[in-house]
């Protein structure tokens, strides 16, 4: 069963990744060209129909895959890196500093990603792919940091670490040779789960008008624009929605399969 999920996950993610790579070399139409009449129903020439500017919708959805994956990978890398560093530092810090950091993380987690995104967007003069990645990655790092802190403390409580510390091993060595190898599988799975959430978060930001600007519109923005014409061109809402679901579902399956494979114990509460 878990092997099955892993394969389905690989298939779905691979499909999306394949499409995303393809868009770098080839597109069915120029995304800014008005290739057909406005809001055409699906046809052989335009399998997903056209949007309200008469632009080919398949092209737009394909570009959306690239945006979604870029945001997911970027945010996961950023969040994973910052989160792991912070978490390890907190675990090693003195009690008071650790408590302070833990409380700050809790507040950060309570802080809406939306406002964080607004701040990042505003501070960098305009929304772009980069600002979305930065905002989501920062929000994600707080969650990863909390998990890493707990996992690290658990490792540090082991007897052999205490022994190693007593024998004078520096904390840098402890981190590299004992902590990281121990927590890595779990962190990896948690980051994979966050990847899916990042894709949804980016779509929500774009839906609110805070995401990637056109012409490289993300799925969220496509949905926002298609919302007002859903009765006439339902494909405009259905296609990007299903594309998004296929990617997130694939990533989640992949994470699940990975967890079983690596035998990582991502605790219910901690993986969030």
């Amino acid at each position: 069963m878990s092997r099955g999920t892993l394969w389905v996950g690989l298939l779905l993610v691979g499909l999306n990744a394949g499409v995303a790579l393809l868009t770098l070399f080839w597109l069915p139409y120029d995304p800014t060209a008005m290739a057909g009449g406005r809001l055409q129903p699906p046809s052989w020439a335009h399998p997903f129909g056209t949007d309200r500017l008469g632009q080919d919708y398949l092209t737009k959805v394909m570009i959306g895959a690239r945006i979604a994956l870029s945001v997911g990978i970027g945010a996961a890398a950023l969040g994973g890196l910052i989160g792991t560093c912070l978490g390890v530092l907190a675990a090693f810090a003195r009690r008071s500093a650790d408590d302070g950091l833990a409380a700050t993380l809790d507040i950060l987690i309570a802080f809406p990603t939306l406002l964080l995104a607004m701040l990042v967007v505003a501070a960098s003069e305009g929304a772009s792919l980069g600002t979305a990645i930065l905002a989501i990655g920062l929000a994600m790092s707080a969650i990863i940091a909390r998990l890493v802190r707990i996992l690290t403390k658990r490792v540090l409580a082991q007897d052999y670490i205490t022994a190693a510390r007593c024998s004078g091993l520096g904390w840098g060595r402890i981190v590299v040779s004992h902590v990281l190898p121990n927590i890595l599988p779990t962190v990896l799975v948690a980051v994979a789960l966050q990847f899916g959430l990042a894709v949804i978060a980016e779509a929500s930001l774009s839906f609110l008008g805070l995401g990637t600007p056109p012409p490289n519109a993300s799925w969220g923005q496509l949905l926002q624009q298609a919302q007002s014409t859903v009765f006439r061109a339902p494909m405009g809402v259905i296609a990007p929605g299903l594309a998004l679901i296929s990617l997130v579902l694939g990533i989640n399956f992949l994470a699940d399969g990975l967890r079983d494979l690596l035998d990582a114990e991502v605790d219910l509460e901690e993986a969030r």
Partner: protein, 320 residues
């Protein structure tokens, strides 16, 4: 327990102060002048200066912060730059939409997720157990506003069963209309939330099923459902409660998007508008109140967990 409560309360209060400070500073980092929201095309220099004076953006930032703190100490969240009205009553008015929406969606999600989650765990080997798990995976992958758009299109516009958007003029004084206008948003949130809750319930139940005490109870002759109810739920509830706290909090914040889809005049739309217009008092007010609620929910979840689980009462829990 009393000591724990005291300690936890102090942490709560400190967190709130820190949150206020962080909010104030972050908001002032935004480029753009709040005075601009008050002006229109055609405004001259004198009008701009007057507007800046009114909102206080001509003052140094530490003067603005001093004013903010002294107001806050008197439970005064300030006066909106844009509407000239005090912020707190407006927040209360809008909470009357956001809070029922969040809580009702939350309860509906629990009502869906708990029985289905337990069923999926207990009958993990049957086809419907697998199907429920699969559906919950699917639900996790769906963006909440997508469901909202589809529901508006099908239920409201195509079939004309429920209002598509908005909230009645008279608010809760018109309970039928108010309730009706919240049905679709509640379903929208509950679908996505129940999917993630279900996974936790299922996996917590699986843990319980594996546990020794359940085996012992059954070995001692208790029937399986009885053993599950007597021992399982109490033990399984501990991790689930803390998840519920986090879920409730994230729903409160996530309501922004759903309120947008359904044009509901809740806290989310106030926040979005406030950010757009750089109406600092509104944004600060909304965020302080939501942060307070989120921290309170976490507080309540922690206390509840301790009450249920005797093991947590004595030690401080080495992990957290």
């Amino acid at each position: 327990m009393a000591r724990y409560l005291l300690r936890r309360t102090i942490v709560l209060a400190l967190s709130l102060v820190v949150a206020g400070l962080v909010l104030f500073v972050l908001l002032r980092l935004l480029p753009g002048d709040p005075a601009a929201a008050l002006l229109s095309v055609g405004a001259d220099e004198a009008q701009i200066a007057a507007a800046r004076e009114q909102v206080g953006s001509d003052q140094p930032i530490w003067v603005q912060f001093g004013r903010f703190l002294s107001d806050l100490a008197r439970f005064d969240l300030g006066v909106s730059f844009v509407s000239n009205q005090p912020v707190l009553p407006e927040i209360m008015e809008r909470l009357a939409i956001t809070l029922p929406l969040t809580v009702a969606a939350f309860l509906l999600a629990i009502a869906i997720a708990v029985p289905l989650g337990i069923l999926a765990a207990v009958r993990a080997d049957r086809w419907y157990g697998v199907a429920i798990s699969g559906l919950s995976q699917l639900g996790l992958a769906i963006p909440v506003f997508w469901i909202g758009i589809l529901l508006v299109w099908l239920v409201a516009v195509e079939w004309r069963l429920l209002p598509a958007s908005g909230f009645p003029m008279r608010g809760w004084a018109d309970p039928v209309a108010a309730g009706q206008s919240l049905i679709l948003p509640i379903i929208t949130i509950a679908v996505v939330m129940s999917a993630s809750l279900l996974r936790y319930v299922r996996s917590a139940t699986l843990d319980v099923l594996d546990a020794d005490y359940l085996r012992n109870a059954r070995a001692l002759g208790e029937s399986f459902p009885r053993a599950l109810i007597r021992h399982g739920i109490r033990n399984g509830a501990v991790p689930v409660i803390s998840i519920l706290g986090i879920e409730l909090a994230s729903t409160l914040l996530g309501a922004v998007v759903v309120e947008r889809v359904f044009s509901l005049p809740g806290l989310g739309s106030m926040l979005l508008l406030g950010i757009e217009q750089r109406d600092y008092p509104s944004v600060q007010g909304v965020l302080l109140i939501t942060t307070l609620l989120v921290l309170l929910i976490g507080f309540a979840a922690d206390i509840l967990q301790r009450m249920i689980d005797p093991r947590l009462r004595d030690n401080r829990g080495s992990a957290r």
